[in-house]
Symmetry: C2
Subunit: 382 residues, 2 copies
């Protein structure tokens, strides 16, 4: 595999050269005005992307650590958390809730299905849950839950609404203010198209107030200390990852200059074209039609095709795909199409998949998947 490989996994995603080169800028002091300017600009851009009336926190970490932050600051020992679970990462919320001493109320659906709004309010009230958690995109199945509908159900309730947007933020619309979301988090390496290493948390005004009112005994994930540092870097608590913030800042500038609507549309069309190509090849997509995300697609492996073989064949063609997690390991493969993924990447991926599957004995009419993708791009004049 040469250096021009395509990283078609659900993160880390491909990063543009200008973003990578930003990483290599000379490291400034973490409490300098120069660094603070870059951090401030990044926080402002994220607030725009999230449309929040509250604040944003960035820390060294990952989506997993951002999840711990989102639970630790809003769950007290013994309090109930309603965990809507549509896959592997839904289970992460259960573990995070337990680690905090919270009581998880677990609601599961089968792989491929997700959650809509209807009935959520009744469920929360019946269970007396103080916090509700859900994935926007469940990365393990490519399912997109209807976070807007769920938010509308929770409006005017006391329930704290926590959304894992690790696989969606920057690729699919999220509107914290209008959808009533209190806490949203992601990692840098997904649709924000930055290398991994940052945890990013968006907070509503109410969430900020809750952090400031409740004095929880926390250390690294103490929201009050992070808020203080985001407002003024001289409120030193933990050293900020200066170079990673340079890269984030560069990518955020590119995101806003592309335009959020354009960006979401690009994700939608690329996703549609990839799904079209896959289905033309007779492959079955894990997510039900109603729940398909614009950022990651999970596909059932054809009979007699092993993931490792498919992965090797794709890798030989310079394209990296992902396998299944947990109970889906060995049963599915996954294609990430987020961040800077474009029609060329989609066509290359479907084409390489045709040749790889053909090589592995799966019957393929070469070009048939690509043709289906082409029709979709053509429809959008791309």
């Amino acid at each position: 595999m040469d250096e021009r490989f395509l990283l078609m996994i659900p993160g880390p995603t491909f990063t543009e050269q200008s973003v990578l080169l930003s990483l290599a800028r000379v490291t400034r002091s973490h409490v300098s005005r120069e660094f603070e300017d870059v951090l401030r600009e990044s926080l402002d851009a994220l607030k725009k992307i999230l449309n929040t009336d509250g604040e944003v926190i960035i820390m060294p970490g990952s989506g997993t650590s951002a999840m711990e932050f989102s639970i630790a600051n809003f769950v007290n020992p013994g309090s109930k958390v309603l965990n809507l679970i549509s896959g592997y990462f839904g289970e992460y919320f259960v573990q995070a809730t337990r680690a905090r001493g919270g009581v998880p109320v677990e609601v599961r659906c089968r792989p491929g299905l997700g959650f809509r709004g209807k009935g959520i309010r009744e469920l929360v009230e019946r269970e007396g849950a103080k916090v509700l958690t859900v994935q926007h995109v469940e990365t393990s199945t490519g399912v997109a839950n209807y976070i807007k509908e769920i938010g509308e159900e929770l409006k005017n309730t006391e329930t704290i609404y926590v959304v894992d947007a690790v696989a969606s933020l920057g690729g699919m619309e999220i509107n914290m203010r209008e959808w009533g979301i209190d806490v949203v988090f992601t990692g840098s390496q997904k649709a924000l198209a930055v290398p991994p290493g940052l945890a990013i948390i968006g907070l509503s005004k109410r969430a900020v107030e809750l952090i400031e009112e409740e004095k929880r005994e926390l250390f690294f994930f103490d929201g009050r200390r992070w808020l203080a540092m985001m407002r003024n870097v001289r409120n030193y608590f933990s050293t900020m990852p200066v170079n990673m913030i340079y890269a984030l800042n560069e990518s955020l500038k590119r995101i806003l200059s592309e335009g959020l609507e354009n960006r979401y549309l690009r994700h939608k069309v690329v996703a549609e074209a990839i799904r079209g190509g896959l289905e033309a090849l007779g492959l079955n997509i894990v997510a039900d039609k109603e729940f398909r995300s614009d950022t990651v697609t999970a596909v059932w492996l054809p009979e007699n095709v092993k993931f490792q073989d498919l992965s090797n064949e794709m890798m030989r063609r310079n394209i990296v795909i992902a396998g299944g997690l947990g109970e889906l390991a060995g049963k599915i493969f996954r294609i990430g199409h987020m961040g800077v993924a474009n029609p060329n990447d989609a066509v290359s991926t479907i084409a390489a998949l045709e040749r790889s599957l053909s090589k592995l004995g799966y019957p393929v009419k070469l070009g048939s998947g690509v043709e289906a993708s082409q029709q979709i791009f053509n429809k959008y004049n791309l």
Copy 2:
């Protein structure tokens, strides 16, 4: 201030160009064999530097998060932790202990003093502490505690010995095996000369066993999950900061190629020369002679010299210094001299300090500080 400024603060430190450029390498998949090779090489290098019979964990984070890991995995709610506190970061251990539900037993000394081994064993036994924590170098005062002596006192006891080596690892010798240290941690941006963003934790064999035996309800800081991922990146738990590990790997190669003894000697001589220069200017060093570290020097501000004025004057001369933390804010200034700091940096710093102090009305015979530094470098034939 132009791009050729010297970062003479106690971290982030100056990073060499080859390390910065490593950050900009194309991001590989976090579960790829290519990335695993780089991670493995980095872990092996760290094991050498730490001389541990156990294992090493690297995660996205900071020294602060590494401290939380070191407490969370070894302290149970209600169990006693002896915190030896020689400054601002000593207090961090108290907070981390409380966050975990542990009971801190706080032993303090005045700024400038540190801890030696004598009497420690009796103290631990009297208090019934299961864990002892101490800073190797207390960054806020430049004090180096005698971690070797303390380790010798704790040998053949059950006490888990946790050392904060944030400001020392890579600049001063640490020998986990011979000094009986169970847990050591640092951040990437100090004497390891990498940009900030990584938490690094060294574990003794016993510490690894303790993590694996005790099933604590943890999430992001769950040691078992991190150990599993360090052993095989396909044990995915949280996305590794791929590009930061590239940079760490490059710096570790340079550290081992300099040679650990050479590196520690360089730190010792540069520190001595900086102190010599400072004292020749009539300035008073915070740390008592017995406790002076080789990585950071804290200095009392002369009467009538404000930190902000001194910092501005130094910055105008392209040298960044740090101020005091907590109760020492406004009373001291601090010079970091770790990582890749060399005699040229030391001379430039002392010389700029002469001009800056002179400008601010403090009586200076220009060249007198530099002369004293020169004498010391000359003694070592540098």
